[in-house]
Amino acid sequence: MAEEVKKAPKPVDVNSAKYKLGKIAADAYTDAFQAKKEGKIVAWVSSNFPVEIPETLGIATVYPENQAAGIAARGAGERMCNVAEADGYSNDICAYARISLAYAKLKECPEQEVAMPDVVLCCNNICNCMIKWYENLAQDLGVPMLMLDIPFNPDYDVPQSIIDYVSAQFWDVVAKLEELFGLKWDDDKFQEVTGFSCRASRAWLAATACAKYTPSPFNGFDLLNHMAVMVTARGKETAGEAMETLYKEYMDNHANGTSTFRTEEKYRIMFEGIACWPYLRVTSTGLKSRGINMVTTIYADAFGFDYNSFEGMIRAYCSVPNAINLEKSRDKRIKLCKDNNVEGLLVHTNRSCKLWSGFMYEMSRQIGEACDIPVTSFDGDQADPRNFSEAQYDTRVQGLVEIMDANKAAKGAM
């Protein structure tokens, strides 16, 4: 096909947030490979484990959830799930776990390779599924597992008993890592890392809060990609810097009346749940083609690890979205909807995630009522493509549009 005329690739702007963030996310994988080569310690880590620990101790990190999302987005979710299922794992199990356990077995997947771990660091503040998944990883890979247990908090505020329990475990995990691998905790380094993490978190919160402007200076689907940096690299200096660039770009967009949502923003919605990675384009186009901008998601709030004391840090890790009760989860979303002038809520009933979806019916009813907005849900899965129907998605989104239209008309008529 020599005669095919190739379009000149768009010049890459190495100063753009998109480039910087993409590079940080990609570097996270290559850095871990490099560390492995140099004989340094590599850990597989749950997304909401306190990164302050591995970063301070100089342990290279790999985030299996992020890897699984990447694999799913590149179309290999089903293939990897099949490998796990052939070993006896039920297809009811979270697809991230199935993909990860399949990788632990095969030790290869061209869609996203990762360095193999010397230890797995588990934190269950997002789900207890994580415990079972990591237990099996540790067994299969013959590496130690360290568990930082952050229980689901049934109360609105984090009680002192949880703070004490989690704080004690924090230092216990540090001591175990020091002992296992001959590492040394350094308080100055810890201070530095917490500084990076807070800086990245502050910039993230500021950038995502730009959705308060109408039209929003960004397409909410951007967040789903940029979030990878908050998962994998928020304890690194580069993350804060790149997030600040992102914030600045969004403010510039606002000043210039531009947006990364490159069509007229007719409706503003909140998207609830993890993205359907295998159908990112379909789900995004289904909104964009109707002029719907998904201006906010709970992720906007989820990585707000901005604190000014050790206890504040522990409290932040105890307050991640899946660790909090219905009322607190609801109020955070109501705030996002109100701050960002949201007109509708689109809920992903994610078959992989029992905890996230398990009280979503009731919570979204309450959010809809409190914000006076329509709520619609669709069935899907963040990584197993077999659990999503494009037709259903389309019908549900169309239904949401119709109610939002009716609401607009009613408001206009008043």
Binding site: D149, P154, T349
Partner: protein, 372 residues
Amino acid sequence: MTHTEIFEKLHEVALNPKAQMDAYLAQGKKVVLCAPVYTPEEIVHAMGFIPMGAWGGDRELNRAKEYCPAFLCSIAQSILELGMIGVYEGASAIIIPSLCDTLKTLGQNWKYAVKDIPFIPMTYPQNRKPAFGVAFTRAGYERVVAELEKLGGKFDNAALRASCEVYNRHNAAMRKLDEVLAKHPEVTAAQRSDAFKSAFFMEKSEHTAIIEELIAALEATPAGRGKKPILVSGILADAPQFNAILDEMGLYIAADDIAAQSRQYRTDVPAGDDALTALAEKFANMDNCSVLYDQEKLRVKLIVDTVKARGIAGVLVVMTKFCDPEEFDYVPIKRACEAAGIPVTIVETDRQMAHYEQARTNIETFRDMLMM
């Protein structure tokens, strides 16, 4: 009473939890529901309430669907359903621990779906063994105590210590029963299930008395013969159709690793003056369960060891559909059994299951494997 008569009595109780609850209420007692997998029943008992197991029921789900997506296990969903349709009416509260993701959501839904029965959360630590874990369990228990005080319960250290002894004695009786039943293949799977299930619906000293009587009656009876001993593992194994298939296939349960059965009774409350701390230590000492963090997968080893110790022919995993903790454990259980040359089969069940053809086929193949 003969053992058959005792089994009949236990069957009555197991079949009619509602009648049991109503009878306690009629005596002026207060009932507190205890959801799976573990709750501090000793505290409930010591504070003057009747702890009543709430593990759901075999019924169709209608109302629960207003709250639960279809992929939550039927145990949690049917607990909510029973709450919503008024079956638990009269109960003073429900204690729901957050030991799995589905149970976390059950507690949250309960607050809105069943407003007239207060929800008492019990938050257990997964790092339960170190001192900080024991302290956290104790704090969770204090929270339960405070909630029960609001409902008129009174806390007293000596009373709790006494209740711990009641429960320890019951544990011992249930462990002994399990040993004795292993030598009595003529006891049906349904009878065995009734003996365990009834424990959830009776005040524990009453249940201990009847189980001790059953043990004596069984020990006085010559053992039957001719069935293949198996170990069953899972959360629940109380469905009548399922148990009937085991009997029909000539299989008998010579040991169980069922959450609603033996897992409840493996660990006693240790000695100690501070009863709440002793009770927290009991939780610290518990192991061998899919909802208790277990890096070593000791549960898998226990299954293999029990099979060997009791001369058991094979392992039948009874999988409650959508129970992810058990689904994760199944793979290592299967691998370990295969490595040890132990036949292993899985059957999926749920509380709405009307058709057991698939289960029957699997169990038939399993039986054939054992006969080889």
